[in-house]
């Protein structure tokens, strides 16, 4: 089901925590609400499921205006960060609870619980209590409980935050699998960009209560709207350095570089910020820039280099692992100028 948020504002004690946000999520799509802590992700999520009231704006499920409907009537499934399983009930009772509330008959309940338990692969745990199953299994239970009513929308609030690294990878693909198998419209709240990029169709990046960019993951990575977005996506993160634009060249990092193709227009400011991702800086791109290696971080397949430039700036480079270089060595590397991201003084993309 298509979900539409129009000019949504939420205030706590007069302070706008979410400020005039509009967002459309297509039917069957999985979208990520991504942003740093405290930017208003959970608040948005709670408003969509009806726990919070919206101070301004409208919420539409399909064509239906649900702005003033209470949670119980919205048919939204939610998975909470700590799963919020009912500790006194067995896994079966947990999953069945939404149906029990609807006063479904026993046979139906048993059938539906069995089906959904199979989907999330916890069929053999139904008799246990939440305290006696692992974090990943609790996660699956929470998903099953959220899905059993066949909700119009599935909301997930940082569903992977409490899992260890390996389980997180596993559940990430599980969530995606279950979402596409059921074809449900889903919103995933997270502050982990890898999570958002890897399983969502689109990402809504939030900052201080506003959506700053809404795009497909690749697109957002390649074409960030501003420095905040550029820095938020990508690990190791993008590095910035100031640059001066001249007639035909550009002074940056203590070196004179040719002015890149996409920065040839004449209406640009003289002083800009350049954003350079680690994969776009290295020996394979030339030798115009000199510096010395500050630190080397080995990641197995790749090495990360922190390089101090002659003007004091620091760039990061990622390269296939090798043993040639040591901290302190001086280098002469180049940058892939066609991938340079340029930002103006306010941090907006040029």
């Amino acid at each position: 089901m298509k979900i539409e948020l129009r000019n949504f504002t939420k205030r706590f004690d007069g302070q706008a925590v979410v400020d005039n946000v509009s967002l459309t999520i297509e039917s069957g799509e999985m979208i990520a609400l991504l942003g740093p802590s405290g930017c208003g992700k959970s608040t948005s999520l709670f408003s969509i499921c009806g726990i919070h009231r919206m101070d301004e704006g409208q919420l539409l499920f399909g064509d239906k205006d649900v702005t003033n409907l209470p949670s119980q009537k919205r048919n939204v499934g939610v998975v909470f960060q700590n799963y919020a399983l009912y500790p006194h009930m067995s896994i079966f009772e947990n999953i069945a609870f939404p149906l029990v509330v609807q006063k479904a008959d026993r046979a139906t309940i048993r059938r539906k619980v069995a089906d959904i338990a199979e989907l999330v692969q916890i069929s053999d745990l139904l008799e246990r209590k939440p305290a006696n199953i692992s974090g990943g299994q609790q996660q699956r239970t929470a998903l099953a409980r959220a899905l059993i009513r066949r909700p119009d929308v599935l909301l997930l609030d940082e569903p992977l935050a409490n899992l260890d690294a390996k389980l997180r990878l596993e559940m990430r693909s599980e969530i995606r699998r279950i979402q596409s198998e059921t074809g449900i419209t889903a919103i995933l709240v997270t502050h982990d960009q890898v999570e958002a990029m890897s399983i969502c169709d689109r990402i809504a990046l939030m900052q201080k209560g506003k959506v700053v960019q809404l795009d497909k993951p690749r697109e957002m990575y390649a074409n960030p709207a501003n420095m905040f977005v550029a820095e938020f996506l990508g690990n190791p993160p993008i590095r910035f350095m100031p640059a001066e634009l001249h007639e035909n060249q550009m002074i940056a990092g203590g070196a004179a570089l040719p002015r890149p193709q996409h920065l040839k227009q004449s209406n640009l400011p003289d002083k800009i910020n350049l954003g350079i991702r680690p994969e776009h800086f290295g020996p394979q791109f030339g030798n115009e820039i000199s510096g010395h290696i500050l630190a080397i971080e080995t990641q197995g397949r790749e090495n990360l280099y922190d390089v101090a430039l002659s003007d004091g700036g620091v760039l990061c480079s990622i390269q296939p692992a090798n043993d040639h270089l040591n901290p302190g060595d001086t280098i002469q590397w180049g940058i892939a100028s066609q991938h340079l991201l340029a930002f103006d003084g306010q941090g907006e993309r040029i």
């Binding site: 009806g50 726990i51 919070h52 009231r53 209470p70 949670s71």
Partner: protein
């Protein structure tokens, strides 16, 4: 609050009703009563109008004129049906009938006139003694006569010839029901006994509190350093004063201190004469009271402080040990600072409880010997509910109690500031 949960309103209603009727109403009534002279004598509903000879002196003190007093004291003689009936019974119907014919409803200023009238009749009464007796049958005095309505009473007073200006004063003295007055408070502030009670209360609260906190701290800290088994045993023992019903606890103390009890028996071989160690002198009484109440409070202190000490990170204590801190240094520099809030809390909580409590004193010394251990709350109780003279003075007792209410409200306002009430009330997170 934009949205009201009707479930919440429904859930709160029973509590509100009960608290309203049995908590709020009584407090308001206490305040009202404290401005009345209600007592067993006046009753709690309305009253009648009755003048007794004693009242006459009282009225003089209220500035009622002599003329009125004389008039009220006077007996008048009226020939009415009631008197005639009595006359008929004693001296025959003929006399009665004749008197009715001649003098029905006449009023005679004094007995002599009526006697003369009786003498002048056809069926006259011969003996002067009998005439006197017969005349007395018609005597009416406003004294000792009960009127249920105010109008009747005033009419009767006017008939006696009382001065008009004195009537309000007379009526007020004659009224036997309760009346509005501020005398309770005047009395409260002028009687030396009141100040005595206030001082007793002050001493009682301070000394008991010191014992509470001091001994509670001692129990908590000493058991903390003990092996688990000993610590639990001592904690269980010292939890007893709190858990035992006050009557039983006091009974145990009474036996312990009685002149045939434990202390006297065990001290006898040392040549100390048997005596009542609880009530012998007021010093004895005070020590007992403070020990009894203090140990109850110390139980609470022990529990509070123990859990506070247990929440001190063990690493902090271990570190200080490694630094070679002595036990006293550790207590002084690590444990006591951590107990600041629990101590402050217990002080506030116990101050209020002690101010109001009188159960243990009531059972132990009942305020004695003399009035030496009579505290404020106990005085209120004695005045209003347990009075040896038999006249329970509700109004005066309520005035005592009202002072406690005022102190209680003031103190709780202060405490709410102190303990940051704001932190205790977070807003509901489900907004509908």
């Amino acid at each position: 609050m934009k949205h009201i949960s009707w479930l919440g309103v429904g859930f709160l209603t029973p509590a509100l009703l009960i608290v309203g009727f049995l908590f709020f109403a009584p407090v308001v009534m206490t305040a009202v009563f404290s401005f009345t002279n209600m007592s067993t004598a006046t009753g709690i509903s309305g009253g009648d109008y009755l003048l007794s000879p004693n009242n006459l002196d009282e009225m003089q003190a209220h500035g009622v004129s002599q003329k009125t007093l004389d008039a009220l004291a006077d007996t008048t003689y009226q020939v009415d049906d009631h008197g005639l009936l009595l006359l008929a019974q004693e001296f025959g119907t003929e006399i009665a009938n004749e008197l009715k014919e001649r003098h029905n409803n006449d009023i005679f200023k004094n007995r002599g006139e009526l006697e003369r009238a009786l003498k002048d009749m056809k069926h006259r009464i011969r003996s002067p003694r009998d005439r006197k007796k017969a005349a007395d049958l018609f005597g009416t005095s406003i004294l000792n006569q009960r009127f249920t309505s105010k109008v009747d009473f005033i009419t009767a007073v006017i008939q006696t010839g009382a001065v008009q200006a004195d009537i309000p004063a007379v009526t007020s003295v004659a009224y036997t029901g309760w009346q509005w007055t501020t005398n309770n408070f005047k009395r409260l502030f002028s009687l030396p006994a009141t100040w005595r009670y206030a001082l007793n209360t002050l001493a009682y609260v301070t000394l008991t509190l010191v014992f509470n906190i001091g001994f509670g701290l001692f129990l908590a800290i000493s058991t903390f350093y003990m092996p688990e088994g000993f610590a639990n045993t001592f904690r269980t023992i010292w939890f007893l004063p709190r858990i035992l019903p006050p009557v039983l606890y006091v009974l145990m103390w009474k036996w312990f201190t009685w002149d045939t009890g434990f202390l006297s028996t065990i001290l006898a071989p040392l040549g100390i004469p048997a005596q009542n160690w609880m009530m012998q002198t007021s010093t004895h009484a005070w020590v007992t009271i403070i020990l009894i109440n203090g140990s109850v409070g110390a139980s609470l202190g022990m529990i509070l402080f123990s859990s506070a000490i247990r929440s001190i990170p063990a690493s902090m204590l271990h570190a200080s040990e490694v630094d070679g801190a002595s036990r006293f240094q550790q207590i002084r520099h690590i444990i006591l600072p951590q107990l600041r809030w629990p101590i402050l809390f217990l002080t506030s909580y116990e101050t209020l409880s002690l101010l109001a409590s009188f159960e243990h004193i009531l059972l132990t010394t009942d305020g004695g010997p003399g009035k030496s251990t009579e505290v404020w709350a106990l005085a209120a109780f004695h005045t209003a509910l347990r009075n040896y003279s038999g006249n329970l003075q509700y109004g005066y007792g309520a005035a005592f109690a009202l002072i406690l209410v005022a102190i209680g409200i003031a103190a709780s306002l202060v405490y709410m500031r102190l303990f940051n009430f704001r932190d205790l009330v977070s807003k509901p997170r489900i907004e509908r």
